[in-house]
Symmetry: C4
Subunit: 331 residues, 4 copies
């Protein structure tokens, strides 16, 4: 089976992953409208291709928060990579480093952040976190991320409660017994209810700021009003995201929301976007609309499911080639 | 079979109800365009989700005409509940009371309004009626509703004649012999033609007003002009409704009509809406567009068909949970 | 099989007519886009239903060019009715008279206009004609129509050449040997090429006018410019028509064209419309947009195919009932 | 099987061509969105048909760059005609001459341009070329085209690199061993990388101009900005084209781009269009929107696949008949 485009990896993963894992990765909230809109919205955006420009040499490197990456596609935070490949997030880290791009490790990893770090020393990595009811636990994660050499903190703000993903409810989704949310093992062993704190507000950004000198990137912004608030509260970056359509259904597609966020931010902080990237031309569209870089979620998992580190590199390489070609053809 | 969302109850009802009953409940007029539009119109409305608001405590109670209900979803008037569950409207009344919400009992119930009342004493209930050719019959129903403790009268105005529901014609739909429209048994025993009066006009609202001190809610309004007339004729509430798409086909979806009605009413009376509610997020959209409360029709019948009182409670509980979650995720 | 709506007759005709006849009646030009658009365009038009109007008595009679018909639906000119029913146009004439409406008999009938007239004396009938290369032949038809008591002449102007109907080409469509275009038998026995004259212009209206005192109705107008010309050339009526989508594909749907024609005509002559009428509510929409009356083409053929005169009456009666109900429900 | 419209030839080709050849001809870039949009965009354009104009005599001849052709449809440059028919481009040249229209022979022909010329002496032919890394090779092709009597040079500018056509990658598409890109055999025998030069800019138009007195037509323009540049650089004609949707996906449909190009050019040079022409009415639409002539790509290949020279003539004749009929019916 030739792996020609990202859909090939999707088809592979759907075929070979256990149903419960596939369903978990594929899940969207409610009717999955927003999940699917993320993709459809890209299709509605059209290029105006220009001709006869010298495209013999193209530089597709970029910098995010000062660090150079080989092309503007990073790995978005997603949980439970061991569901896709035995080595889990360690493979992800190695693939990202091999491709010289940024990997945002999730709090809900099946490896500890120390293991992730050790697997690919020197790679550019950010750590994704929530604010927990137990603030000490959050603080501890920040410390560990700093100590392990993560270079940014990605605060996810669109999950005061988990969205309703019907298939996960039907499947009674839970991790198999041999996998663990290792980052949280010690901190929450006695916590019975959801560890995340739904009472978090913008003031908690100041609290997080007080804990660390790492740049703070806020993930989950979809409106100009919240973008303005994010800049006002001193974050270093914004990821326009709807959590892959897994939280509130029937909100905007991220590429549509990107436009209003970029306009509101007016260059004061870097803006990124995730959700719905399936082709190199999608990357080009996002950049043309003001994103500094995009992040991929499910496609990274499909790559892992295909061949672990190597499969994820295949996915990234395809996106890179397609992105370069789109740039050339669009002039 | 896990009952995760309202569509699961729909699938169950379609599978287990007698075809003639399913067809009757599902029927829309003509091509069923409006019936389906009621649902599609909700999907076209998009949220602008806001983040980092304290959503740890949310109060979803509301008041309709002064009575508190546990959340803004009531039971719309639909006929013939015994087609869905042996105990018929008695089960409906018990479920509504258990969930602390409002049940609008239909004139075309298969239990008398006295039986309904006796089944769930103390529950909040309104009584739905038409104006009959035989005004004395209407007057008698008003008296009985008052005597049985109903707290509002819902006058349906979109049925001067019954809409053309093709499947019902094909099926030769009629109630099985052991079921009766009990409320009308005595009043109309000699009436050969349709008991409803197509010559009713706005002036008849004054006549109805003269009969009772109960609040009058008018059901079936779809335009700003009629909303203005309704307010001018002294009703206490308006239910924006197209009778579930069972009357005139190819009119507006109710959620679209709601916007112009709310604008015309300018807060002078309470406005509600029914038709097309399938998820908690639909409830949130209706409220955001100015409805004080929504009413569900077919989903209540699916709940009854599943497990009677208990099944209807399941339906209401799912909507309640989804509504609360949508509120939290939308900020 | 219950015949509840016009689609039931369509399904019957599709099932029981010889394929070559069904294909001929169903055919649209090229991709059949306009044929299908005629129907879809009605669906895009939405009612704003008004409530609480006295709809106990409704008068659905109308007058076209001074003659009263029982409701505003006539029979459009279509050819070869014997393909649908042995008695052909004689049955059509009888059904139209029985329902007290207008029948436009086609030049391409399989009965002579004298036979049609004799079959239903006293019925309101118009005669449809083209302008032929052989003007004497046209003149002769006019004389015969006058002599047979037809009360109007419908000049079809959208067929300088026949449209390309792919299925007819594939089927090698031609009438079975026992059927004839009887009206033309004598006039064209030596004519080898298409008898219709593609060089006809607006001035030929004056020529036709000079032949007869019958009112002239022009059929096939789709633009305001041509509507203005038609009025300027002294016609008594306009039928907005695209020949059922059988001529130029990808022109406007007739109900859309009706709006601009009515606006241009400003009441100076009567405007009618055909194409896409499938329900009583379509009739109401056409009238609300300014048509004095509508004409049905294919549905009349389906009625004939079902049970001849009786089947066509069924079709008309269903439309009549649906039209009356729509009026009542729309207020 | 009756060949009634171009889709019939498409179905034939799909059925009888080797899969690898069909896939190559049918291929679009990425998701094939633009390939399909080329067709859909024509369907969105609607006629306003006018009646009662004398359409008995119609002249459908036109002139392109001074040469008369029998109707405004030429053959667009496409490669590898031997994949469709053994005689390859020689058959194409003969069919074009027989129908008295223009054939743009591709550099990537499987016959030499001399063979093409010899096959149909006296036919109107243009030669399509790229600018190669090896400029001498391009220069040599220009000389040979001049010497062989080609009357125009079509410079394709939308292929600095080949688009990503997934099926070709999956199939590992390459010519069968007995076919060759004969025009390039000598020039590039040592060239390992793609012979096309991605560093080409507008200045290279001047270089090409300096080589030849033949008119230069630029192919691949999609925006008003590039149209302005093309005129400014002295080309004689512009073909609005997106390479059949085979290069950058999700750019504009050509018929949509035509409008802005025609507007920018303001008659200073001739404008043509290719992509998506499937019916005679499409030709009429393109001309109504300002094209002087259209060119067909895939339909020509389907014609070849059907019956070589004869099949291509069938395709052209159908388009001609449909175009003439559309003109008559549109008035």
């Amino acid at each position: 089976m030739a792996m020609v485009c990202l859909s090939d990896f999707e088809a592979y993963a759907k075929k070979y992953l256990p149903k419960i894992a596939w369903d978990y990765f594929a899940a969207g909230a409610d009717d999955c409208t927003t999940r699917d809109e993320n993709i459809l919205a890209y299709k509605r955006i059209r290029f105006r291709p220009r001709m006869l420009r010298d495209v013999s040499v193209m530089d597709i490197r970029t910098k995010i928060l000062g660090s150079e990456i080989s092309f503007p596609v990073g790995i978005a935070p997603t949980g439970f990579h061991q569901l896709a490949w035995p080595d889990g997030e360690k493979s992800t880290a190695r693939a990202a480093r091999a491709m010289n791009t940024c990997y945002i490790a999730s709090t809900y990893s099946t490896c500890t952040l120390e293991e992730i770090s050790a697997a690919a020393p020197g790679g550019l990595r950010w750590f994704q976190l929530y604010i927990h009811r137990n603030r000490a636990a959050s603080q501890q994660l920040v410390r560990r991320a700093e100590a392990s050499g993560f270079q940014g903190l990605v605060l996810t703000v669109d999950l005061p409660y988990a969205g309703k993903r019907r298939d996960d409810v039907r499947n009674g989704f839970r991790l198999p017994p041999h996998m663990k949310v290792k980052n949280l093992e010690r901190a929450f062993e006695v916590c019975k209810m959801s560890p995340l704190d739904p009472s978090v507000t913008w003031n908690d950004i100041y609290w997080l700021r007080s804990l660390t000198c790492l740049p703070i990137i806020i993930k989950g912004i979809l409106t100009r009003e919240d973008a303005e608030l994010a800049v006002g509260h001193g974050v270093q970056g914004i990821i326009v995201s709807n959590h892959g359509g897994r939280q509130l259904d029937e909100g905007p597609a991220t590429i549509d929301a990107l436009v209003e966020v970029v306009e509101a931010v007016r260059g004061r902080v870097e803006v990124y976007v995730d959700g719905g990237i399936r082709k190199g031309s999608d990357v080009l569209k996002a950049l043309a609309l003001g994103a500094k870089c995009v992040f991929i979620g499910r496609p990274a998992l499909w790559g892992l499911a295909y061949k672990g580190e190597e499969g994820l590199q295949d996915v990234l390489r395809i996106l890179q080639d397609e992105f370069r070609l789109s740039m050339a053809l669009a002039g």
